[in-house]
Amino acid sequence: MTQSDQYNFAYLDEQTKRMIRRALLKALAVPGYQVPFASREMPMPYGWGTGGVQVSAAVLTPEDRLKVIDQGADDTTNAVSIRKFFEKTARVETTGHTVEATVIQTRHRIPEEPLGEGQILVYQVPIPEPLRFLEPRETETRKMHALEEYGLMHVKLYEDIARHGEIATAYAYPVKVEGRYVMDPSPIPKFDNPKMEMAAIQLFGAGREQRIYAVPPYSRVESLDFEDHPFCASKADHPCALCGALDSYLDEVIMDDDGGRMFVCSDTDYCAARQAAGHLGAMAASDGQEERR
């Protein structure tokens, strides 16, 4: 018996998975509502996706193909370690390609490629309560959700406009799900907010805060705004330097200490696929020419 045989499938014991699945079903039945669950200790520190990992473990089946991304990238520490974790404990197939994956665990991004029915997107959530920094009392925020008292959320947006001239909240931008619950979409850039109305199931797990919530497929997800300051899904106003994409969310990469910088797709799979299909950005093209010489 090898070491990895001694784990139950996907690390968690069956009773725990059952408990998480019950929470997931409730969360799907009440879109945007934060369902408390008995979060377990996971072999990774809080803040590294313990909530997302537990949700993924509860929904994974041996036939699933898993993709893990961290800020859009498949090859960063958090993504690599979680992918390895499930390779070891669940021995599921893993992939970097969005279209091939059936379960995608993500930290802070939604893939550029539109997701379809049959796919599950699992978010890692640090702070599930959108009202937290405005109202510190949990008893009070629960009451505010229950009574739909969401005026305070607009106070935050008001403060943004008063201080910066526009709604400066760029990530974790609050949304209202199915016209009822105000929800923190986890720290995804607000560029991704419109994508939340999708065909895939979206599950959110917050390990430290012990909350699970969900957005069922094709749910209405509105970003909060003011009539005279409407929501705007902004991104850096550049094409991707490697694949030339104009429609994808970009990371700014500092190249040197002389002001040199480049903007590249944060979704590495999307960028690589475009480059393979022959789309080349400004910097990719010059690299290619050098090779040819």
């Binding site: 008292e149 005026g151 305070l152 106070v155 406009i161 009539e227 005279d228």
Partner: protein
């Protein structure tokens, strides 16, 4: 109900006060609250009419804050009825309302001014955001209009418009208290509860604040219940006065009548205790 009777008598004499005969805005019947057997307030009954300001005075521990918190729905009284004439539903017992209704009432038709402005303000939010919060809570979603009414209200409480984006922590105590008043009055409430509104302010600032509150109350036709231990405050603000001691109302009547001709021994003591400068 000696209080109501004394008002009816006045109402007959002075014709322009005939609005006192209108339906009461707030009708309190036999409200009592005790803390583990200790009396907080006992058997308090009165009517408050639209546009009327009532003062509640008494020493520390006399139950005046308990009474105010019961009336404002912060505490649940053990006995008694509190009937409020709401715009939507007419005269209704606030105790029998559901919590959402009561909270709605608390942010539309009621206002509560705390003694310490820190209790009533969001210290991490700008002055404009503080004033705008109640508007946004009742559904205002137009930034420009929210901001315009915030600036308008800051102006009405004598805070310069260029302070609209400053946080209350950068304000003086008097300004914080005025900001709290603006924040409360922006949704046009009909009944204002004030708990020691001038406590902790120096006398010249107190005088300005009282002037301001008096002006707003007259201008907006507000009804108010002002709890204070400062007789000068009620003399300036209140039409009518209730004196409390050990949880009981021991004397009630027109402010000038009670202060100039106190009947109860404790009221006499209270009035004579005021230092003359």
């Amino acid at each position: 109900m000696s209080t109501a009777r004394s008002f009816d008598e006045v109402g007959q004499e002075v014709s322009e006060k005939s609005w006192h005969r209108a339906k009461p805005l707030l009708s309190v019947r036999g409200v009592a609250k005790s803390y583990d057997g200790r009396v907080g307030c006992a058997d308090v009954s009165f009517d408050l009419y639209p546009g009327e300001v009532m003062g509640i005075v008494g020493e520390s521990g006399s139950g005046k804050s308990t009474l105010l918190n019961c009336l404002a729905g912060h505490l649940t009284p053990d006995r008694g009825e509190i009937l409020f004439d709401s715009r939507a539903g007419g005269l209704r017992d606030t105790q029998a309302m559901s919590e959402p209704e009561r909270r709605m009432l608390a942010r539309t038709e009621w206002a509560f001014v705390h003694q310490n402005p820190r209790d009533g303000l969001r210290m991490g939010v700008s002055a404009g955001g503080n004033v705008g919060e109640r508007l946004m809570a009742v559904g205002a979603r137009h930034y420009g209009r929210i901001r315009a009414s915030a600036i308008d209200w800051l102006d009405r409480v004598e805070i310069a418009a260029d302070r609209v984006d400053d946080r209350p922590s950068a304000f003086s105590g008097g300004m914080q208290q005025r900001l709290q008043i603006a924040r409360n009055l922006v949704t046009g409430p009909r009944l204002v509860f004030m708990d020691e509104p001038t406590g902790g302010l120096d006398v010249s600032v107190q005088a300005r604040l009282l002037d301001l509150v008096r002006g707003l109350v007259r201008e907006m036709g507000l009804s108010a219940i002002v709890v204070t231990h400062d007789l000068a405050v009620v003399r300036l603000l209140a039409d009518r006065l209730m004196v409390m001691k050990s949880g009981q109302v021991i004397e009630a009547g027109l402010t000038d009548q009670v202060l100039d001709d106190p009947q109860h021994a404790y009221t006499q003591l209270l009035v004579s205790s005021v230092l003359q400068v």
